[in-house]
């Protein structure tokens, strides 16, 4: 408990494992958190397609809690022991972070996509930190019945910038609606980022989550989908790059309560230098989730023997009639592959970039904004050039 006096616990694993593996949670020191929310330049594009309001973060939280179907608390189970954490609208980073960001960002932007409305263009929200800075922001996206929308949240700064950023995005997706939430992290090499996403997904609703994590020194991120609706779909597609001594800490949780729900988590990444990555992926079938399926797949390219790669796939079930799967592929550039690529003129550095880009661009290309795609492409190239 001593560590909690100095910071917050985030990204808890829903089903705890041995403490010595150091994957049950991540710990973020207070000095890694932003103190103000004034230092990023915010620009929005195509916001006029939706209704935008501002609420106090406390009000926004109470309002969003009303959509979580009365769920009072979430358990963290270790063996037969469960500890409970009060959180009506459960998030991946967890209660500590929600409490903290409510204070850091006293106002929350609430975007409503009206019933039946299908947006032509993505709503693009950009936070540019320039030479560095500290900022926190909260949003709630409310996709009403039968609507469809894409929201793209971009975080960026200059390449060598230092800073702290904290973001929380809550998503409410009503019956038959589809929400595509896409987040990119093109922050500088000195940034600490905490980026939380959470959704309540209704009947026949779809939550499509795309995450591109390329920048930052330490990134704690996650997405928690409460699939309370029957036939709901939660789909995650993530691409990340971690290099130097950077940390990438990820927590995805699909809680499948409705009948015939479907979750698909796909995480692709590349690790080089002395980078560390922890990926927690949990598919949690609750009682009543009859006929549900869940699948999580990870594909990691290890480019250096000094990297640390931890993966914790978890499938929990209270229901018999479900199908949960997980799989992981570990790749490296073997001497045979380097010789093969070399025989076409591709040297080791180019091979590493090419293989990383192949993995990441398959995720980046899902983003329906050419500028973001081009900037991500450029960021990957620069990451390799800077290391040469």
């Amino acid at each position: 408990m001593a560590e909690r006096a100095n910071g917050v616990i985030v990204n808890r694993l829903p089903s705890l494992t041995w403490n010595r593996l150091r994957v049950n949670h991540a710990f973020v020191n207070f000095d890694e958190l932003p103190e103000t929310n004034e230092e990023a330049v915010f620009t929005g594009q195509h916001e006029d397609q939706v209704k935008k309001e501002t609420m106090t973060s406390a009000d926004a939280e109470r309002w969003a809690d009303g959509f979580s179907r009365g769920i009072r608390r979430e358990a963290y189970i270790a063996g037969k022991q469960a500890t409970y954490q009060e959180q009506h609208f459960a998030t991946a980073l967890g209660r500590d972070f929600t409490d903290l960001i409510r204070d850091l960002a006293p106002e929350t932007a609430v975007y409503t996509v009206e019933e039946g409305s299908k947006l032509d263009k993505p709503v693009i929200l950009n936070w540019d930190f320039g030479k560095g800075g500290r900022a926190a922001a909260q949003q709630v996206i409310y996709a009403r019945k039968g609507s469809e929308a894409t929201f793209l949240l971009n975080l960026s700064s200059e390449r060598d910038a230092l800073g702290h950023a904290a973001i929380e995005t809550k998503v409410i997706i009503e019956e038959g609606a589809a929400l595509h939430l896409m987040k990119t992290n093109l922050l500088g090499r000195g940034f600490v980022l905490l980026d939380d996403s959470a959704a309540v997904v209704g009947d026949h609703a779809e939550f499509d989550f795309v995450q591109v994590e390329l920048g930052g020194a330490k990134t704690y991120t996650g997405c928690y989908a409460d699939q309370c609706g029957d036939h709901s779909l939660f789909k995650v597609q993530t691409g990340y790059l971690a290099d130097q001594d950077h940390l990438m800490d990820i927590n995805y949780v699909a809680v499948q309560r409705g009948k015939k729900t479907d979750s698909r988590i796909s995480v692709k990444g590349s690790l080089r230098d002395q980078a560390t990555k922890v990926f927690r992926g949990t598919i949690d079938f609750r009682k009543g989730a009859k006929g549900s399926v869940g699948d999580e797949q990870e594909d990691v390219l290890i480019l250096d023997p000094k990297v640390t790669n931890k993966t914790v796939p978890v499938v929990l079930t209270e229901e018999e009639d479900v199908d949960g799967r997980h799989g992981a592929t570990l790749g490296n550039l073997s001497p045979d592959i380097l010789f093969y690529l070399g025989s076409r003129g591709i040297d080791k550095d180019a091979a590493e970039m090419l293989m990383t880009r192949g993995r990441l661009m398959s995720v980046v290309n899902l983003i329906p904004d050419e500028e973001t795609v081009a900037r991500s492409h450029h960021f990957i190239r620069e990451a390799f050039e800077a290391n040469e």
Binding site: D299, R344, I346, L354
Partner: protein, 254 residues
């Protein structure tokens, strides 16, 4: 020998387990087609791999010159950039890298210039059609889930797109059915036609040579080149096998 493209002088090669090639000498001029034959384990693939700079094989003696430059100690990618190419006997599967992206990046690395996308795509499409390849293979991960025949066609596709000065075909015909061998032969003919490149074809099978004008045939036995002849030597070996050469090599070693 000033007109030679590739010159191998007294080349000896070893791997950790021991010596494989002994004092091999070979000269290939621009546009020539050479065939390298020999029984299993003779060292044919070792020679191909050594020419291409596979670090598994250690040159213990001799030199390799390409286009007038000593490349004996040069890295594989630099040899490729100088105009060398090898079609692999067992092409590797590379998940996460599409066939098209692989070829486009190879071209970019070799020329040092950006590739003109439209022109590249058109040429790729035409070349795939020539090799009876389904265009969808361009978007698929390199060699992943390709049949043996498609892998070999993909190698020939790369050769045609990269247009090297010199290509080593390491048993490109092995494991292929008659139709696939014909398609691969068509690709090799096209390579000659397009770029007048030189070839070193390592093979057990005369089928792939039927439509090609072979200039020289070499026989490698137990790591030594025991004889060199013209195109007729292929026919002779086809009929008589390697026994005569194996016996000669054994006598020479006594």
């Amino acid at each position: 020998m000033s007109d030679s493209l590739l010159q191998v002088k007294d080349l000896s090669v070893a791997i950790e387990e021991g010596q494989i090639l002994h004092d091999v000498n070979l000269t290939i001029r621009p546009g020539e087609t050479h065939v390298l034959m020999g029984p299993n384990g003779a060292g044919k693939s070792t020679l191909g791999n050594t020419l291409m700079g596979n670090p598994v094989y250690h040159v213990t003696g001799g030199q390799i010159f390409f286009d007038g430059q000593d490349i004996t100690r040069e890295t594989t990618d630099k040899r490729a950039k100088a105009g060398m190419f090898m079609s692999f006997q067992n092409p590797l599967e590379v998940p996460g890298l599409s066939l098209e992206s692989f070829i486009r990046n190879s071209l970019r690395q070799q020329t040092g210039k950006p590739v003109r996308i439209m022109q590249f795509k058109k040429q790729l499409e035409e070349t795939m059609a020539l090799l009876n390849m389904d265009p969808s293979y361009a978007d698929r991960d390199l060699n992943v889930g390709f049949s043996g025949g498609e892998k070999k066609k993909a190698e020939i596709l790369q050769m045609l797109m990269l247009a090297p000065k010199f290509a080593i075909l390491d048993e490109t015909d092995s494991g292929l059915d008659v139709d696939a061998v014909r398609t691969v032969s068509k690709g090799i003919e096209e390579y000659h036609k397009r770029s007048d490149g030189a070839l070193l074809i390592i093979t057990h099978n005369a089928k792939i040579l039927e439509s090609l004008a072979v200039d020289y045939t070499h026989v490698l036995v137990k790591g030594s080149l025991v004889t060199t002849g013209g195109a007729d030597l292929v026919q002779k070996i086809n009929e008589e096998g390697f026994e005569q050469y194996i016996e000669e090599a054994a006598k020479a070693n006594e």
